[in-house]
């Protein structure tokens, strides 16, 4: 492509968002963490929030998220991002505080912290990346793993009699009075990615308006640990995850509709 030159009459209609650092990420090829990052960055850019947003990164594949965003950021202990974000938000109530968490972080070790952050109506926004597996540690079973799903710690497939059924966090957190906006979207194709972006925009607007807790769950792929190609992994989301994790808005407080 080095030889190609852009005709001058062409206009840039899409480029990397400013809230993303101009840097290489450690994510595997085709991993939709990158898509989730880009959507969050685009939403922050579009709402003009970059200079007052503080990102709380999790433990998991997104452990270096603070390096990938051009935002003030900090790195929480595993599962504790909602508690850390609570500390940041309570200290600086006029800032936008975002946690970015995977399913091991949010649904397993940090289940207590996320539940209580929602319960308190903590005015933070959570981007919850659900890929039904522990990515960083090499593909172990998560509370979100599907029944029968083979992982390195459920080599014969998740046995629900032994380990329970997938935990549906959006449905659970939507029950909290403090939740103003809880939605599940998927990143498996461009149309759904666009819907996911809109949901993230809504979540940030909810926080800006001080309406309460907001979370967008994003069904995501993990090609490496699912042992699929990036393209097959997106199809796997559609075929296997969507029936267990239906997309939709699980909580939209009345005030959110007026935004």
């Amino acid at each position: 492509m080095e030889t190609m030159t852009a005709p001058l009459e062409l206009q840039t209609v899409y480029q990397r968002p400013n809230a993303l650092e101009d840097t290489y990420t450690n994510y595997c090829p085709g991993c939709t963490h990158g898509v989730a990052h880009r959507l969050l960055a685009e939403a922050i850019d579009e709402l003009g929030l970059r200079d007052r947003t503080i990102l709380v990164a999790p433990v998991g594949c997104a452990v270096f998220a603070y390096e990938y965003f051009d935002l003030d950021g900090c790195e929480a202990a595993h599962g504790r991002a909602p508690a850390m974000a609570t500390g940041v938000k309570r200290a600086l109530p006029d800032r936008i505080v975002v946690t970015y968490q995977g399913d091991g972080d949010l649904a397993s070790i940090g289940a207590g912290e996320i539940l209580h952050a929602a319960g308190r109506g903590e005015k933070i926004s959570v981007v919850f990346v659900n890929n039904a597996i522990y990515g960083m540690t090499g593909g172990q079973m998560a509370p979100t793993s599907l029944p029968g799903q083979k992982t390195s710690s459920s080599p014969k497939g998740r046995d629900v009699a032994m380990t329970g059924n997938p935990m549906r966090m959006s449905e659970l957190l939507a029950q909290m009075e403090g939740s103003a906006y809880v939605a599940r979207r998927s990143l498996h194709d461009p149309a759904n990615i666009r819907k996911a972006k809109k949901a993230i925009l809504t979540a940030l607007k909810v926080q800006e308006a001080g309406l309460g807790f907001s979370m967008v769950e994003l069904l995501s792929s993990c090609p490496t640990n699912w042992k699929l190609t990036p393209s097959e992994a997106l199809k796997w989301i559609e075929t296997n995850m969507l029936p267990i994790y239906p997309l939709g808005d699980y909580k939209v407080a009345d005030a959110v509709r007026d935004l």
Partner: protein
């Protein structure tokens, strides 16, 4: 149909091929003759017929945010390529 083109950051691309799968004009290919610094074969626009419409679907699915999309402006013309990001991709 509007005319467009894309620029793929050859060093950031991890060759995941998702853009290739979603491109409605089938004008993106993996450049197997090239290896970037991270040892990936990057994707690139392969559009001798000028079929790219600048629809940006490739950029929407790109997990590495490494696609810049250009398109004929609908109203005014002559906006040049000024951002350093874009220049590096040329």
């Amino acid at each position: 149909m509007a005319h467009g083109m894309i620029l793929i950051d050859q060093e950031r691309c991890k060759g995941c091929s998702l853009c290739i799968e979603v491109c409605p004009q089938h004008v993106i290919t993996i450049n197997t003759s090239k290896l970037n610094a991270k040892s990936y074969h990057p994707a690139g626009l392969d559009d001798p017929g000028g079929k790219c419409t600048g629809c940006a679907i490739c950029a929407v699915i790109c997990p590495d945010a490494c696609i810049t999309v250009l398109r004929e402006p609908p109203l005014r013309r002559g906006v040049g390529l000024s951002s350093p990001t874009v220049e590096r991709m040329l």
